[in-house]
Amino acid sequence: MPDPLDFFYYPVRDFGLAMKGMIIGGMGVVHVFLAQFAIGGGMMMCWLQWRAWKHDDELARRFLDSFFQVLVLVSFVLGALTGVGMWLTAIQVSPRTIGKMVEEFHWIWATEWTFFCVEIVIGYTFYRCHRRLDDPTRMLLLAVYALASWASLFWINGILAWMLTPGGWSQTGSVWAGFFNPSFWPSLVYRTLVSLTLGGLVAIVVVHTIPGMSREDRGKLVNTCSLVLAPMAVMPLVGLWYLGTIPPDSREWVLGQSTAMTMALGGAIGASTLVGLYVVFGLLLGRLYVNAATATLLLVLAFAATGAGELVREGVRKPYTIRGSLYANSLTQADVDRMRKIGSVTRDPYPMPGKFPEPVLVTGAKVFRLQCSVCHTLDGANGLDHLTETWQPDQMRLNIAKLQYTKPFMPPFAGTAEEVEALVQYLLWRKAGQPQRWPIAAGQARLADIRRWLAAAGTHSPVRRTH
């Protein structure tokens, strides 16, 4: 079904009351948590193996065996599957975004895959054979495993950071300019620190699952594992470095302009601070013993911090999903320009399920589906029914026509005046309880107003395109 206007219509999924962001966010947080745990776990095991080898630490050796089983069982399968799941979920939410990412960075992704293969094969080899290996070989395997898993982070981090700060890619289209973008290094360092933290915290939980170990031995192991948490102390500085590299408008949103984003950032900082304070003063300086409950609580806090951090990273990209290239609703600037002239849904081949008394309502529903549904539901999370509840009809027309000025994190409306009116009628019809009859006046003057407002708003977002 190639479109002569070079716009390909994908069928749009409806997740009911759930925002699509919740679907991809839920999968993303679990995947990031597991993947970063795998990376930190690899480093953790190198540290333990080093102690076992060079300091003849039998306790470390014994613990390493248990820890590795957890890593294999949890991370190898769930981590790998949620990785594939991220692709599949991204397709459900925004096929054009994931398509663009894959098209631009497929060689990077393919390179990452070679490291992923190393990680899995070496991991399983260690899992199966480690009891029969000497210390140098064990160290070699674990070092290769840790390096390969960190290299996966290295490659994927560039692609993720590019979405917010595409850097020179915006001008040149160069993959490398996009990969080594302004937020690449702070993001990489920060994620590495998070990985170490998660590896250490999971290890402390696992210490309590080993049967037949004395409290004294558990205490020694907790202290040993705590040492990999020490780099957490520099996380605030790296966080500030990262904030300094993101676009000013994004920074302003998380520093007060957007309540939701500011709260999410606050949550991430708060949870991280609690973990950090306990680690520094309790574990590192106080050499406290941590029981299973406290260890689990610390891990839950770390999960919350990871989730909130990822939410912030996703949220601050608005109104773009790939800054300067693809708006949050997966339309390009060229799409917006063209659709202003020819309409956005007249060529959409997919029917609109449901009963509508007037064709204009079908058009309105299709406009919602194409342009709004990626971030909004109708009457669920972030629902338009609720968000527009207090708007008068003309205010609604004005606000939608000048959408990018109504809310700077919204993309410009991509369609004709007739489509603005159709969307307004659709929302008003829903507000009226979806009656079986919905008389619509011709309203040429109304359309003229909308055209004027659309022209005044222009087709561009006021948010600067590049960074």
């Binding site: 069928p11 979920t89 459900q92 096929p95 098209e103 094969v121 899992y127 029969r132 070699l140 160069s174």
Partner: protein, 338 residues
């Protein structure tokens, strides 16, 4: 398509097609081992447990790793597929709605069932669990394979997309197609099992022969069931290669020539993968333009360099492990978690 795939294709399409086909075959071998191996465990579950049952213990031991490997090796073809037929693949995924989530859940359940089958004594020796645990895993893998077949057919059928958006669309060739790939798993399983025990080739040949018979019947059923036109590639050279590989492999099983059987199987799977792609190229007009757009992006040398470096690193590490573990415990096969 007048020339043999991938010759005659534009350079970008040919490059991505070759990478896709090669990585897909690697993935397919392990996926088939998992599917048929789990099915084999179900059948063996009806027999009384025997401590000396080498095939069973080998399957229980290796299946979780094989699944992990199949998933890992599946990432690369999934990546190259998105360059070749992004629109078709994404549309089919969207039209199958929540199926992707069920596939993920099925794979997670399947893995943990395999792990239970390997590590739990009850699952190895209990009368009910010996069948139920692998059966659950088997059902998960059948569902996964069936869904991928459905996805593939849907992605190649743009004329059905609008209908599929409003309700389910059935394809007559779906069952024989999936059945063919499932049947093809039997000879693959027999070969993998025979790798470590050549003396068992006579017994394993029965599994292979069963697979050959089913492959033949289901291939014919598939061709007859197709409602969509067959691409010209079906009559192309790869069909003859597949036929020749099939005969070579069957003959090699008859004469117990393991190496020849492996070569025949690999060539057969390669041919099937190539024929699949010829179908796609016949069904989807935009493959060349998508591949051409992707080929303008940088980074290709990076992939090939690291593919070689990482392969060398793996070989070095594995050789060292074999040497060291052989020195420290000659003849030992003790492994954790087993």
């Amino acid at each position: 398509m007048d020339t043999m795939f991938p010759f005659g294709l534009p350079g970008a399409t040919a490059l991505y097609e070759v990478l896709y086909v090669l990585t897909f075959v690697l993935h397919l071998v392990l996926a088939q081992f998992v599917l048929a191996g789990t099915g084999c465990l179900v059948v063996l579950g009806f027999e009384k447990p025997r401590p000396d049952a080498a095939t069973e213990s080998e399957l229980r031991d290796w299946l979780p790793f094989a699944l992990g490997g199949a998933i890992t090796l599946g990432v690369a073809p999934l990546l190259f597929l998105q360059l070749l037929d992004r629109r078709g693949f994404y549309t089919a995924n969207l039209l199958l709605r929540n199926r992707y989530a069920f596939v993920l859940a099925a794979l997670v359940i399947g893995f943990y069932m395999l792990y239970v089958a390997k590590s739990s004594r009850r699952a190895r020796e209990g009368r009910v669990l010996r069948v139920v645990v692998p059966l659950l895993a088997f059902a998960c893998f059948v569902f996964t394979g069936y869904t991928w077949s459905q996805n593939r057919i849907l992605s190649e059928s743009p004329d059905t997309w609008v209908r599929a958006f409003t309700g389910p669309v059935s394809f007559a060739e779906l069952l024989p197609r999936f059945g063919f790939f499932a049947a093809a798993a039997l000879p693959s399983l027999a070969l993998v099992l025979a790798a470590s025990r050549r003396d068992a080739m006579s017994r394993l040949a029965n599994i292979a022969w069963l697979g050959f018979g089913l492959e033949l019947v289901l291939a014919i059923a598939y061709v007859l069931a197709r409602t969509r036109p067959l691409a010209s590639g079906l009559t192309g050279a790869w069909v003859y290669v597949a036929g020749a590989a099939f005969v070579i492999e069957a003959a090699a099983w008859g004469t117990r020539r393991y190496g020849t059987a492996v070569a025949g199987r690999f060539l057969f799977l390669l041919s099937i993968a190539a024929i699949r792609e010829v179908y796609r190229l016949g069904a989807r007009a935009d493959v060349n333009s998508q591949a051409a757009a992707a080929a303008t992006k940088g980074g290709m040398p990076l992939f090939f360099v690291f593919a070689i470096v990482n392969a060398a690193l793996l070989i070095y590490c594995l050789r060292r492990v074999v040497r060291v573990s052989g020195e420290s415990a000659p003849g030992s096969s003790s492994e954790i978690g087993s």
